[in-house]
């Protein structure tokens, strides 16, 4: 599924500002050890395309854990044995499993010296990967895909202004709790009312989808005009329950992940495209490989511009069409 076209190569080559030409720092291509979470995604496409467009010859060692965390220590061993020039990882779980926290942990259990470039870690500081985003100060850097909450709300409001916002989240997920905290703060500064509900936690301490429909009905009854599908891991697995429930209540849904709108049926989402995140990660990898910079000095960044995705069929169902100007810059899903 490699889709390298003139457009891609030309445009991604432009990022480095040079014409594609082979670059060899030491004899032979660079060796990159890649660990993915659930197989090959658009992140990897973007990553590979960037390197190809910039003429960085690479020998890629691909490994996938298939959502099984227990495979990670074995990969650490393999990395030690193979001594690649760079390691690239997908997501928080994998990255923590390979590189470990910066402040604790047994140095031998993790990779501390080989450069690690990640993609899709939503909270590098909160999860203890690095002490600082501008100066990671260790062998880890990468690209974050999270869209700031405020940006999400602004996009939501430009689609349709709102006075009351509903959110359904998992109370035991630290990231979600933190985002809800952000929402509380924004509710004051942006002037809206926040209506929250939590997923049911079963006696084992795990969230379940029980009572989802009731919770959403409550949110709607409280006057919510949007349901914000925040980047909550559990929520990401139950779109097929949550979104139809919202639709039944004629409550528009705004997603924070591509999945939510592409397959989940949300009305609209503001996302970082995985492809672009992969490219951004590759640009950092390139800095390590060809410029010889240490990851400790390469800042961890998000994209500058995010993508708005609108599901027109849902819009039709809800009779809630987007402002026509949005058609200029939003991706519209049809059919």
């Amino acid at each position: 599924m490699k889709r390298r076209t003139l457009l891609t190569v030309g445009l991604t080559g432009a990022v480095a500002g040079v014409m594609p030409r082979p670059v060899r720092s030491q004899g032979g291509p660079h060796r990159i050890y890649r660990v993915t979470f659930r197989g090959r995604t658009a992140v990897e496409e973007g990553f590979d395309d960037y390197l190809a467009a910039n003429g960085i010859a690479v020998e890629m060692i691909d490994r996938d854990i298939g959502r099984d965390r227990s495979l990670l220590p074995g990969m650490v061993e393999e990395i030690r044995a193979l001594q690649p020039d760079l390691v690239t990882t997908w997501g928080t779980t994998v990255t923590l499993g390979i590189a470990g926290r910066y402040d604790t942990g047994d140095p031998d259990a993790y990779i501390r010296s080989i450069p690690v470039v990640f993609a899709l870690v939503s909270a590098p500081m909160n999860s203890g990967l690095v002490p600082s985003l501008e100066q990671p100060g260790r062998n880890v850097t990468g690209a974050v895909h999270v869209v700031p909450t405020e940006t999400q709300l602004r996009a939501m409001a430009s689609y349709r202004p709102f006075r009351r916002l509903g959110v359904l989240y998992t109370p035991i997920e630290q990231n979600s709790v933190s985002i809800v905290g952000d929402l509380q703060a924004l509710s004051r500064s942006m002037g809206f009312e926040l209506i929250t509900r939590e997923f049911h936690i079963d006696p084992d301490g795990r969230p379940t989808a029980d009572g989802v429909e009731r919770r959403i009905a409550e949110i709607k009854a409280a006057g919510a005009e949007w349901l914000y599908l925040l980047p909550d891991t559990f929520l990401g697995t139950v779109y097929d329950r949550v979104v139809p429930a919202a639709l039944a209540e004629r409550l528009p849904t705004f997603g924070a992940a591509e999945l939510a709108v592409r397959e989940g049926g949300a009305l609209v989402a503001l996302v970082s495209r995985y492809y672009s995140v992969g490219q951004l990660a590759a640009s950092k990898a390139a800095q390590v490989l060809t410029d010889g910079r240490s990851p400790a000095t390469i800042p961890i960044e998000t994209l500058r511009r995010f993508s708005l995705i609108i599901n027109i069929d849902v819009a039709r169902e809800l009779d809630l069409y987007p402002p026509i100007e949005m058609l200029n810059y939003a991706e519209v899903l049809t059919g």
């Binding site: 457009l7 445009l11 960044e301 511009r305």
Partner: protein, 214 residues
Amino acid sequence: MLRLSLRILPLFAIIVGLAMALGAYMNFSGVRGAHLDLIESRMQLVADDVGTVVEMAVSVGIAAPEQVTLPGLLARQAAADRLIESIDLVGPSGIVLFSSDPARVAGAEAADRHAIAVVDRAIVNDFGVTVARVHVRYDTRRPGQAISGFGQSVLTDAVPISLGALVAGSLAALSILSLLHRRAMRATQPHPGDPLTEAGTEIDAAAGGGGGGR
């Protein structure tokens, strides 16, 4: 008088001529500016519209549909406006990635001959880097010709008017000078109302008469 006129009139004529030339030039220049601005803004509109589409494509990555329609879009836009030579999507190294004119693709963007003007719109990717530029190349010969035609009309009007101004001005100057000259010539001779003659008469009277008042 003739010599004097020959000295003064050319200078006067030059002044009037220069003033008329300045006025005519400013007339022409003002209209030309408005005309070219209109054309450029129209081209920029096309560039911006194309740019929006391309930026969407870049942001989406490389979804197949967009690729297919881009050359078509460029061709359609270029065909819709007769002044447009081509609409190109150019990489930063100067290679033409897409174009409404298939012959230009994958070639380096060479410097154009003078008659082509270019309007530019940058395509920025998701992490803020300019990855390409939309160039709308348009023919400035046609507007140039129209403007020359306009210039010709201005000139055609300006020449007779200027000549008229020159003549009128010179005649005015000449007549003013002649007037002065005539008055001055009168003063060199005794004439009715001439104070010199009056004074002379009075002196004679005073001197000629004997003593005392009579």
